[in-house]
Amino acid sequence: MTALLRANLPVLVVIAPLFIAFILTPLARRIRLVETLAFLATVLGLGAAGHLATVVFARKGSPFIYQLGGWPPPWGIELVAGNLGVFFALAVTGVSVPVVLFARGNLTAEVGDTGRVTRFYVLYLLLVGALAGMAVTNDLFNVYVLVEVVTLSCCGLVSARRHPRAAEAAFTYLILATLGSAFVLGGIGLIYMLTGHLNMGFAGQELGRVWPDYPHTVLLAVSFVIIGFGVKAAVFPLHVWLPDAHATAPSPASAILSGLAVKGYLLCLLKFLYGVFGGELLRELAVHRILTLLGVAGIIAGSLLALTQEELKRRLAYSTVAQVGYLVLGGGLLNATGLTGALFFLASHAVIKATLFLAAGAIQAATGKSRIRELAGVGRKMPLTMAAFTIGSCGLIGLPLFSGFIGKWYLLVGSLEAGMILPVVAILAGSVLCAAYLLPVIRTAYFRPAPAVAWRDPGRPQKLALLLLATAVVVLGVRPGPFLELARKAAAELMAFV
């Protein structure tokens, strides 16, 4: 039995959450059973990802190749679980467990009756399964299918609340995300027309041989892919849907959307740019400079826009735009250190953003207030929640001993190695601005006197979830060793194509 599980691990990481999602709908009336099953599904996903990690480590660098249906490429879909796949699968499943724990018992107030809560869990599990699939897939069209599953589940999660702003934000998100999907599909079509392969490895090899003959088509394919994934990952000028969508979603949904969904698209963008197009083509078309500039612009613009927001969740949503700028900057540096920094930052930001959004959600659910200046005294009345928020903020700013510091450090070193000063200035300015828009929240919560009303404390699952995430932020900052090593190997895998 264990041999059977071990042989099929890459596909189990994807289908365990998916199948349990489909069992949930007929059980809608027994909501405790639904929540327990959802939690079990995410724990199973995490277990499968962890087991896959040990299996991949035991193979010492050669990736675990799995062919769906037994058909070898180019006829079949190939799943490749290398260091990069394991890294992202661990990040996805690891963050999904505390978030679903937070949602336990908490959703009825935000979402509605048990039927809607069940649908929330179904969409959540579909999202987790599809993100895990994005980590391991090696087929171009499979990427498109998973991108669509993630898009539709994200839009469903955003529209879960009954507030009219939620419907509007979900509609904007749906239209713009489908625009992005159409661009991605166009890019995939152009790559297929150029190379005749849908497998990323074969397409990359063929494209490396063929691209000087078709410069315009390749340029079109690259731009389609960047714009398509850029719209969905909220890269700077294309980020306009993100603040509304992530601020109006229920808090567990905002946590997983900001933390993991946009990162999944960025990971797919990196796989496309490095694995299919290759470093030589990127340098020839100056794509890496474009990515770095977009990243710099995103950091500055996102942080400045976050400063102007009065509402806590919108401020955190604009902060996500800034952090995506860091990731795009790291992806555009084209050296191993920068890419290590980007990947580690990806995982650490997922944990940090989940902490921040869940804490903000707990505060909003307990006090009913969402404006920052109304949050006076929260630190005294809800100490655990505010402590988790503070730890997350320190991680986001990039203070040493917290996980954000390591990612930013590697990004800085990578920028210096690439010989560019502008990213260095942008990263430092971004940290200062991040402090500028997060510290007032902490100051208002701790140092202003609290009003005399009694606030409902968050329940025990919520506190446990916040504790887990905050501990992860600190642990990743103090002892990043194994995870950083995994990020380094994953970056080396991507750099092999440059």
């Binding site: 839009c155 239209i175 009065e310 207030k369």
Partner: protein, 133 residues
């Protein structure tokens, strides 16, 4: 330029797809009516499907069904058509979801014109959007 026209006419599916794609994108981004935005998305996706399916075509080939053709026939590539079936499914799902959201928005705001929704947002939902969940 005079060698461009014959090339464009030979590749007429791709030319049509490019024109449809631009029309669709332009409609999505600029038209204020929500239904028209959705139609723009559909036109855009139709253009992409057309590109894909046309890329699989071989002039003078037959449909790739084994039982009905003789042994010497050149079959057209069935893979892009199969892939676009998935794309059409996705497009239908997105359309259905967007229509449900439009119905929901219509019931709150009473209009499907985005300009009027932006104006009425303040009076219907409160000044910034929301204070509590």
């Amino acid at each position: 330029m005079n060698e461009l026209w014959p090339r464009l006419l030979v590749n007429y599916p791709y030319l049509a797809a490019a024109i449809l794609f631009v029309i669709g994108t332009f409609t999505v981004l600029t038209h204020p009516n929500l239904f028209k935005k959705l139609l723009g998305i559909n036109i855009m996706e139709s253009a992409i499907f057309l590109t894909f399916v046309a890329s699989g075509n071989i002039r003078g080939g037959v449909a790739p069904i084994r039982a009905t053709a003789n042994a010497e026939a050149v079959y057209i590539n069935p893979l892009p058509s199969a892939l676009m079936l998935t794309g059409i499914v996705v497009s239908v799902s997105v359309t259905a979801f967007a229509l449900a959201l439009i119905v929901r928005l219509y019931r709150v705001y009473g209009t499907t014109d985005l300009r009027r929704i932006v104006v009425r947002r303040k009076e219907v939902t409160g000044d910034d959007g929301f204070a509590q969940g």
